[in-house]
Structures are given as structure tokens and as C-alpha cells.
Symmetry: C2
Subunit: 478 residues, 2 copies
Amino acid sequence: MAKEKKVEQITDMDVDFAQWYTDVCTKAELIGYTSVKGMFILRPYGYAIWENIMHELDARFKEKGHVNVAMPMLIPESLLQREKDHVEGFAPECAWVTHGGSEKLEERLCIRPTSETLFCEHWANIVHSWRDLPLLYNQWCSVLRWEKTSRPFLRHREFHWQEGHTLHATAEEAIAETEQQLEVYARLCEDFLAMPVVRGCKTDKEKFAGAERTYTIECMMHDRKALQSGTSHYFGDGFAKAFGITYSDKENKLVHPHETSWGLSTRIIGGLIMTHGDNNGLVLPPRVAPIQVVVLPIAQHKPGVQEAAAALVERLTKLGLRAKGDFSDNSPGWKFAEYEMKGVPLRLEIGPKDMEAGQCVAVSRHNREKRVLPLESLETAVPALLDEIHGALFARAKANLDSHTYTARTLDECREILQNGGGFIKTMWCGDERCELAMKEKLGVTSRCIPFVQEKVGDVCPVCGKPASTMIYWGVAY
Amino acid sequence: MAKEKKVEQITDMDVDFAQWYTDVCTKAELIGYTSVKGMFILRPYGYAIWENIMHELDARFKEKGHVNVAMPMLIPESLLQREKDHVEGFAPECAWVTHGGSEKLEERLCIRPTSETLFCEHWANIVHSWRDLPLLYNQWCSVLRWEKTSRPFLRHREFHWQEGHTLHATAEEAIAETEQQLEVYARLCEDFLAMPVVRGCKTDKEKFAGAERTYTIECMMHDRKALQSGTSHYFGDGFAKAFGITYSDKENKLVHPHETSWGLSTRIIGGLIMTHGDNNGLVLPPRVAPIQVVVLPIAQHKPGVQEAAAALVERLTKLGLRAKGDFSDNSPGWKFAEYEMKGVPLRLEIGPKDMEAGQCVAVSRHNREKRVLPLESLETAVPALLDEIHGALFARAKANLDSHTYTARTLDECREILQNGGGFIKTMWCGDERCELAMKEKLGVTSRCIPFVQEKVGDVCPVCGKPASTMIYWGVAY
């Protein structure tokens, strides 16, 4: 009896990108809806992607000396209020616990929107001497922000992330850490997720509540909108002062340490979908894919076919690859569509004729290119092909980024770019927040970042016409 | 300049076991206190133990076909109320969110105390046919129960755990799953944590709110009290009926599936401490220890000593062991005490004389036994020694369990056992809850489990004197 489930159609991405995106999230079984608005379920296939990202990122953090901890999920209101800018930024979107069991609490507690205040309270207790520094901590958890709107992965009231928090003796060390961790995110995006990034600094308006400086990586989605994909913050000694964290330096003077934090969330999965996906569903880069290779027997009732397919799965698994065989009684056509929807990067087909010829047929998900692979070369050919697919996905995304990154000198030029489909717009900027706000009001774009790699694309700010020496990226952002 | 931190003394466990326990939790840097009562910080060393347990358990779950998911942390009150027994059990200890940002919520939400209701709501949406079953889900998360008292690891208002939730076509399959997962916990305790367990069933009074049957593993701590270390629940189709989960079976009839859940929490770390620890601090079994071997250079200012110690660390790391060298300028005595406090199972010392003789000195944490190891045999000797330490710790804990498990036929016999230091008491039981309550009132013990391995230790219930065919374990529990 064939599986009754039909191959489901999804909306054409060129007709309605937003609906296409939602279709992929649900049809690829990444996300489940719940009865609480803005709260989503990460279903097994969606969570498996996050597990692979966690595993990879965690190893990269530990390589640089970071250790994991677990802080409480609740923050007393008075603790959140200790740092002025921070509470202003986060209090409006906190969820508040007011009752424990049947008792009203003396002080209400918020579910953490982020945990700087908890780390600071702890550090004030345990840091005494320069010998206690640096502290390189990270936490894997979920946080809660009571957003008014929601979209799968991109905006959840509860989202999963990691938040790194570090404490250093000097400003220089803390800034170096902030930059280093941004680069960890950038390498993860490029080498693991095949997502090219623009690295830079946020403007004061866009920086994290309480930070002196926020670094960011910005990715371009298929619809040319920007996705802020990871941020890293330098706090100076502001939090240390607010929370009374001090240490004795080598001269036995009592001084304040310097702090950083940095985070990357499940939002990046939204980025993966919108960078690589197509009208057949999800397209996953091989290194993050829960299933890297699916092996499908063709004419599987014929003698030896299932065994031959199972042998391929076993050989691939031995290589350390995540391989799966599908021996269900669904038709090959149904299986093709199913694993395309799920974005499995490589499909191997093997049938009686292939067995006779000592080969299998390899089909890449992203371009449906078919290749015949001699079975004897499987152990070298498949890993090479997966690397090639990673490279091709990265190149395709890079071409999208490059070809839709524009330079403009005037507001009219900006407007024209946006009317022609938009993308990232590079202009000079005078540094005045009023001009930044005007860009939003007049054109609907926000500043994405002041890139580390600067170019001189003009002489004046396109808004006020005053001399400007800073180049900045603008875009419409998720 | 030598580290100023002093080697800290802890309370003698025979003088004040509770204070000894708290001392170990803080001095070994496992736990940090916070400004919210009952909420603790898992510090890096404590969290590293939990990471090792998670890693091991997760692999064992996946081996049996389970997949991970992430459910929301908030449950609407109406959803929690859907299953009568369940809400009665958990509502009194829920923390309630009543405000999101500045708005009062229409319906208050509780922070999950456990997630059966969320899984059921989801399953009602996605389960249709017998082909969709079984669903073998697990979630790693923290949950919240507003307890009145708290102790590190043993009773947190927020604690970390995994909760497995599975759905099956038949009662038989669900019961087999419940039993299988209890055995996964039992193997973890015995093979990985060196903690011998008693496997059995909870009485109706002690079972999980909403469950038809609760299985448990019970461990004996050093002070002879019991620790419930992992539980596995069979729900029948009660939740499925309450939440309207149905599927079409092979005959196309609409029927209710059967459900299980099972959980193990950071509480087990409290068990580790109280099973293996001693008056010098923590004692960790090698397989779970964040640092399995610490290598200490002796007379490290002498030429070549640090290099020789570093070479040992490198060789051990290459074996896949978690090895650390301590090259700080603290004295060897300070280092000995520090790594004893942290429970590192094996210490290797190497100094100029050892180098000359081509050897190092190995000292086991749990009995301070010294052995000379030829350097050339390091790769075989150290793993063998770690396995031997695991075996010795298990045997020591098993001896404690066996020698303090007693048989009694009357209340007077029970009383005498308890007056002599207590332990587990095996008696017959008539099955009447009133007799169970009487044991608590008269003797201060609770039923621990009805063990799978039954013995006939008498003919009648010691409370009511009626004929009894069931043997049960009693004890004072954490």
C-alpha cells in the first residue's frame, strides 16, 4: 500500500515570497504552530538543523577557550533595572511572572530576554583578582521577547540561541574578543552554511541596549532583503560599574573589568531557507544538512536492489556522513519530491541496470544535475561532490549579494535602486542620526552596518549634503 | 607569585552530611547562588558534568530511534487543565506569566513544569494514520516548579532535564517503550555514573500525575537515604482521549494511541556527589568526569619537566581522554587539594627523578593509591586504570547499598533498622494506601518502589497484618 500523503505544492517564490517561506517552514516539517501566539515548535527536522549548528558552533567556541554555564531563566525586576540603557531597551518586551503557585510574588520576575544582568550579578560575587580573568562563558538556552508580530524562525516570542558573555582585564582584550567572536560567526556562515556575509559595525541607533559598540554580520536573502545574522557587543566597563564588579590588578589597585556579549539564534535557519531555497522547497548546504545523502532504490522489488542500496548507506555512514535509505513502498517520484522538499543536498539512485554497470546515479538538489558515479569510487566521489555543492551554493549566494549591492550618491539614486528590486545600497554618511532616520522615513531602509572594508563612494551624505567620510550599508531588513 | 587562594576546608561528612554536601557544591565550583530563592547557577564545572551526561544519554536515545524537538516554554492555563489528574498534580507549583510587555494577558500562561500537554496538543494536529506512529520524541530543556524549599541539584525551582515523550499504536508497544527507557536510565547510572540502582514500580500514591504506571530507579546515597534518579511513565490512552488524539488503524478504524514520558534531571548530579564524594570533596567516576586525568609537574622549574608533563597531556588527549596539565605557579600541595576537591579521578605526577626512570606516578582520587607507571605503557595503562577506578567506585557504592538494605516483618523491626542508621527496608505490603500512609506517619519512610525482582520476605503487611504478596522498598528519600 503506497503512502497516502500527497506530494504537496508550495507557493511560487516569485509570486509571493512570504507565503513561499511559510510553506517551506511547514511543508518541510521544520515548524509547528501552537495555541500561544508567537510561540512555535521546532519539529524534529527543524531542530536537527539547529543541533548541527549548535554542535559546530560549540566546538568552535571551546576551541577558543569558552566554557558553558546555565543561568536562571528568571530575572528580578530590580536586577534588570540596574543598567539604565539596558532596561529601557528590554523592559517593554518582557514577559512577567507575578505568581508562584497560588502566591503573589513580592517582586515580579521577567523571563530572560537576554542574560547580561544575571552574568554581572554572578561575576560581582566571584571576581576578585586579575588572576580570575578573563572569564569566557557561553550559554545555550531560549529567551523570550514579547514581540507584537511573529514569523517562523525570524521572529519568535521565544527563540533559541547561544549568548556568550565574557569579562576581561582591559578594554583592548575585550574589543579583541568582540571582534574574534564576530569572525567565528562569519566563518560559520560562510564555511558551514554557505552564506556570504558583510562584516561591520552597527550605528549608535542600531546597537544593542547598553553596548558601547555592536558588530554585526549581514546576509542578503533571495528577495534581496537583509538578515542580521549574528551580533557581538562590546560594553566597556558600563555594566561592571552598574553591578559593582571590580578586581585587584597586578599593582593591587581596584579597577572595573571590561565586558562583551555575542549571540546567534535560530533566526539563522530562516536565513538558510531564504538564501538557498527554491520552488521545490528547502535547499540545505551539505555541512548542516541532517540528511546529507538519501539513497533511493529504483525498482526495489527486483532482486538485490534493496540490499545494494542498503550497502551504499552503510558505506557512506562509515565515512561519517549522515546518510539515509528510503525503502518505503512510496513511488520513486514521491520520494524524489519529498527529499527535494526537505532540501537533502544529494540523492543517490540505484536500480538493476546501475548494479549491472557497477554504478549509481547522483543528483544534486540545488541544480538537479545528474552524474553517474562508479560504485568503487564512492568513498572519494561523494565527499568531493558534497564539497562541490557547498561551493556552488556559496557562489550562487555570493553572486546574488554582489550583483544586488549598489552604490549611490543621492537619494534619487537610492530610490531608483529600490524601485528596481532593491538590495544593499552603499552610500557615504555624515554620522548624524537625523540623516539615518530620514533614510528610514523617505526610503524605508535602515542602516545595516558600517563595513570593516571601507570604500570612498562619494564625498557627501546623500541626505544632508554635508561632507562625509564613512561608508555605510542600507537595506530593507527582516 | 603563588595563587593566593587557600586550600579550603569542608565540613566533615560524618559530622554534618547536609553541610558537607553544600560545601562540596560550592567549593568544587559546581553551583552558584542567585538573588532569586531556589534558582541556582550551574557553574562551568557543574555544567560540564551535565554536558557529559547529556551527550551520553542523547546518543543512547538516538540509538533507539528518538529525535529531539523544542516545545514552547509557556503553557496556557486552559491547556494545562485539559487532563484532570495532571493539572491537580502540577498547578499548585506553577509559576504564572500574567503580563507581556505592558499588557495584561487575556489568559495567564504557566512556565512548563513538564510538557505532556504541549506534546499532546501538537500530536493532535499531526497524527492521522497508523503510518505516523510511533513518534519517539525527546526534549532537552529546563522546567520550573515553585517549590517551597530548595537545595543545590536536589530541589531547584528551575531545573534542567530531558523529557522523552512517545506515542504508540498499542498499549503493549507503549509499555515496552516505558520499560526500555527505564533500562536506558539504569544502564547510564550503572555503566557511566557508577551508581547501582534498584529498578521497580511506584505505588499509585507516588506515581506521576496523570500516569497509569510509573517506573523508577532508586539509588542509595552515602547517608543511606534514597534518591529517585529517573522515572518512566506509561499513560495508557488517557491523555490521548483528553486531547483528542486519534489515528486510523490498518482496518481504517479511528482509535486512540498510547503514550509514555520519561525524564532524568540534573538531580542526578546531586546523586553523584552523595554516592561517591568524601571528606576531601567531590569524587567523580571517570566516564562522566570533565577532567579525567590531571597531569602535575613536580619541581617544574627544573629543565624539561614542564615539557615532559605537557607531552603526557598530549598523549592522553590523543587517546580521546579529557586530560589537563596544571603549569601554574601554585604549589604541588595546593594543586593536589584543588583537583581532589574537584574529584578528578586520576592524577599523574612527573618530576626529574621520574623522567630519569622513564615513569610517572599515578594517584587514584577515591583511595589515594599510588602506582608507578612506565611512560611507554601510558596508552594502555591509563585507560585500564580509569576502567578499574570505575569498577571500584561501583563496587563501593554497591557494597553500601547491599549492606544497608534490610528485611523486616514488623513495624518494630523497621523502627530498629531506622534507629541503627537506616537504609532501604524490604517488607511485604498489602497494597492498601492507608498502610503506605501509616508507614510515613509512624516511621517517616515513604515507599520507594515495588522492585521488578520480587522476594517473599514474609506473609503479611507489617502495618495491618493482612496477607500480602507484594514486596516493597521503603526509605527516607531526598
